[in-house]
Amino acid sequence: MAILEEPIKEVMVLKNYVGGEWVQSKGELQDIVNPATARVIAKVPYSTREEVDEAVQAAKQAYPEWARTTPLGRVRHLFRFKELLEDNFEEISRIQTMEHGKTIDESRGETRRGIENVEVATGIPTLMMGYNLEDIASGIDEYLIRQPLGVFSCIAPFNFPFMIPLWFTPYALATGNCMIVKPSSRCPITQARVIELVDEAGFPPGIWNVVHGSGSMISSALMEHPDIEGITFVGSTAVAKEIYRECGQFGKRVIAQGGAKNFMVIMPDADLGNTIPALMTSFYGNTGQRCLSGANAVVVGEEDAFYQQFKEAFVGAASRIKMGYGLDESVQMGPMQSKKAKERVLGYIEKGIKEGAKIILDGRKAKIAGNYPETCFLAATVFEDVTLDMTIAKDEIFGPVGNIMRAKDLDEAIEMIHTSPYGNEASIFTSSGKSAREFQHRVNCGNIGINVGIAAPMAFFPFSGMKDSFFGILHGQGQEAIRFFTESKVVIQRWW
């Protein structure tokens, strides 16, 4: 199968975008490697603390005028930006594949999800409305208005380099705030292209800024900065917890989304014909590198025949997954994003074997479609006889590894889910409305799938999350994002 044309032809040197200008950082440059071809495709600067401060100052300066721009005036910039994203849909998607490794279908899916957030944020003249009540006392009225706060920052992860900054930024801007985006240092190119479109859309200088660099240095510079009102973060639980704590200490608003260990419960009445493709997408889509990936498949029921039927279908489908360069349209799974990420997953596979789990599909023997180095490639792996005390059943592996477990009934399956400290997603596959309703009610996870393997909320719903998967009160996307980026002011008025 032919490879789609690569949009990155030569090594790019990325710049920061501050105050509406392209700024060359004084920081060191690091290579960005295409994980499928192992070729260097860009160099990203590791910006300095002073450069972070310059971005904050530019945003702070731009804020008062932007906050006074009418909501309709603000969203007109977003409408133009949305059109530019549509015009460049394919290029943006292919860049994601080049820097991340995901398949072109997955990249386009990510692009669409990101654009949907821009679309929802264009509804701000309605969505940002407050409310009022006449005559709260005789002759006195009361109303609530929502106002922007100032400068926010988004610290983005590598696994969705396009979409995740758009879970937050369009809402921040539409409500009248300014934003500093810190793209992932592993996948920064997509955001570099996005900011070119931001520039083309004609946003006023300083409204939307990009500073590249090291996650830890930039995060701490932003959290400690007195002119930053709040931080949004998506990444590991350890870092999310740290960010939450520090934001609390410095009095900042925070949305901190952490890791996950998602359980997929398969009831004996599940429609396996549709369940298996849904599970393949869940476990092996994005090469398992997403916080909504399935990790533990719990097959319910004591009947061996159903268990065997499920296992054969799951392993059979996983073994047929075509792995290769994501710009080959026939490829179903790309490489891991980096060699280091692959090595981390390999460590978990070895640990699983050592702790007594049975490996029934070994992804270490990878067959790659096309002539690409093995560096980052790791095929689908399946374990069975996995128990809850095993490391592979507890830790977030963040790779193409699936565990098959058993539960005697739905109660036991739900108990198993609740042993996990995480609460990002859980799904049930069933033909029974009763089981589905029970599951939805009892399971302590923020995103519930019913015959859906990736319960990814649409832009007009919050991206929920519970327990160690989320730190904060309000979530990203939709109405909750609007609440996060605004202060509620109540006015009580009387006229003599």
């Binding site: 199968m1 072109i104 279908d105 386009r108 899916g109 849904a278 393949m280 994005n286 179903q332």
Partner: protein, 143 residues
């Protein structure tokens, strides 16, 4: 060749529409007596290409099973050959067009059937285009 991903399916559908459009343009040039009908088909093929691409672009998300909805769909039975020998009579050209339409219709119907439970909008669009093909075959027969 096996088609597995939604991306492949969309590219294949567009390729079929594009080839068919070229055939009808050629037929329009060769047979002035049916020019209007053939050109309208070519125009509709181009529109189908856009509709198919748009449907995919507007519904594709990481939450739907784009990589795993078409496993085992062989492309070979739906490949079309649009080369037309010189000096063939209109009746033979129409017969060829009918065969091609049959193949394209079968492709859309099969792909829609396979992905019905998972991709929803894409199979709906495919079914709509396949249905229109029946009308088209009727028009070809009546020429």
């Amino acid at each position: 060749m096996q088609l597995t991903t939604a991306s492949q399916i969309i590219s294949f559908a567009k390729e079929l529409e594009d080839k068919a459009a070229k055939l009808y343009q050629e037929l329009a040039a060769r047979y002035p007596e049916a020019k209007e009908v053939f050109l309208s088909f070519a125009k509709e093929n181009k529109k189908n290409e856009i509709v198919v691409q748009r449907t995919y672009n507007e519904v594709v998300t990481d939450a739907i099973e784009t990589g795993f909805s078409f496993e085992g769909l062989e492309a070979d039975p739906y490949m079309i050959d649009v080369d037309l020998a010189q000096n063939v009579p209109l009746s033979s050209a129409i017969k060829k067009a009918e065969e091609i339409e049959e193949r394209i219709q079968n492709f859309y119907t099969t792909a829609a059937e396979m992905s019905k439970g998972l991709l929803a909008d894409i199979p709906r669009t495919f079914e709509r285009i396949a249905k229109k093909r029946t009308e088209r075959k009727g028009k070809l027969t009546s020429l």
